[in-house]
Point group: D2
Chain length 133, copies 4
């Protein structure tokens, strides 16, 4: 299954953006949602000291998914909404990465999740810089 | 099942906000997500002239759900993230309401959905005005 | 916002079912998803003894939402899929209610959630009994 | 980001299953959810003849995501629930693939989506065959 090829065939409607940047952004949002879902699932088995991590990662999953799905619905493309949602997603990504890095005894999930959040923030910045309406 | 009573018993962590405003906001976000889901489901059966409505309503569902769920995870409460997500949700709500109202032959679903979006935007404004960190 | 009135106006396609039973089922699925989301959000702040409850409630949220949304997409109605998804949702609801009831020091969230799961299972049974293709 | 390595580090709790089969299943569920989301987003821009495809693909997204997330929450692992949810997901996958293949003028999205559904059904079968409680 070549997801990248599938993404390239999407008709993105009237907004103008760098299609490669958007494809990389969608893949990074997806990787971030998966990493945060695994991190949250692991956090549940630990004590209350992982409560913030678990809650933030659970928020991250839904926000990354919603942002990615928005990019997959070209008929609803709207510059103001896209900017606001990507801003929210990046704000969450920074907070989630900081939280995951803060654990003294950070486990493997948290390290992966922080990296996935960082990458997502970077790819969103690149896509936002290329968008215009 | 008394959902309001259940909401009142939540421990909201360190952020300060008007709990009644947040409860009304969560209920309005939920009503908005349901109305938009029904509107999108109805739009699918119509022609391409409902494509924008269908896509925007589908986006609205995920954003309203994510915002509501964020309020239900007190351990992850973060003022910057909450502000950014509520701003995104309200931006979507205004665009979705405008789209639903634009149909000359607006059906009952679209009217309900526009009203639910308006109410959600109003309740989010009230909650945001009461928040501090 | 009168969600019940909105539900009544949906065109449910070719499947035959009791529309009142389906409306009650959707409302119960929604209440169950909200209760389970709040229960999971509360569980995160407790110790590992709430890990199973948190994970099951998180599963419950997604399954109840998916089942409710499926009912809101009449164009995709399919008897085999609906039966299989409702069966999965009810299986989860029974397991989730049992878990929530098992806590010796059960908090208010768990009691609400168990009741919401029970009600959802009952309403799904009633709707399934009324369906035919 | 090496998602496969991250998956391998998960603690899957008390259920016994082939971990390689589960990892392949999660990746296939994720690819299926992405393909179906893109297919639904594309369908919205076409006429009512794509209504069933759009609705089924939208259902597929939520069911594949819910099933994948359930596998990422080891604390909530339950054999009955997992069997029921995987059965529902596979039933949906078969119906969705059949619908996508039925379009005389099938577009590229539908072909990808049908392939992704087929692969997901196959990987779920392999994982289910390896599970025991």
């Amino acid at each position: 299954m070549d997801t990248m090829a599938m993404m390239k065939s999407m008709d993105m409607g009237e907004m103008t953006m760098d299609m490669d940047a958007m494809q990389e952004c969608m893949q990074s949002l997806n990787a971030c949602a998966m990493a945060a879902a695994m991190c949250a699932g692991s956090d549940m088995m630990h004590g209350p000291e992982m409560a913030t991590c678990c809650a933030m990662c659970s928020n991250m999953v839904e926000m990354a998914q919603a942002t990615m799905h928005m990019m997959m619905r070209p008929a609803g493309m709207n510059m103001d909404v896209m900017n606001a949602m990507m801003t929210a997603c990046m704000t969450m990504g920074k907070a989630c990465a900081a939280e995951c890095r803060a654990h003294a005894d950070m486990d493997e999930m948290c390290r992966y999740c922080a990296m996935a959040c960082d990458d997502m923030v970077m790819k969103c910045e690149a896509m936002m810089a290329s968008m215009s309406a």
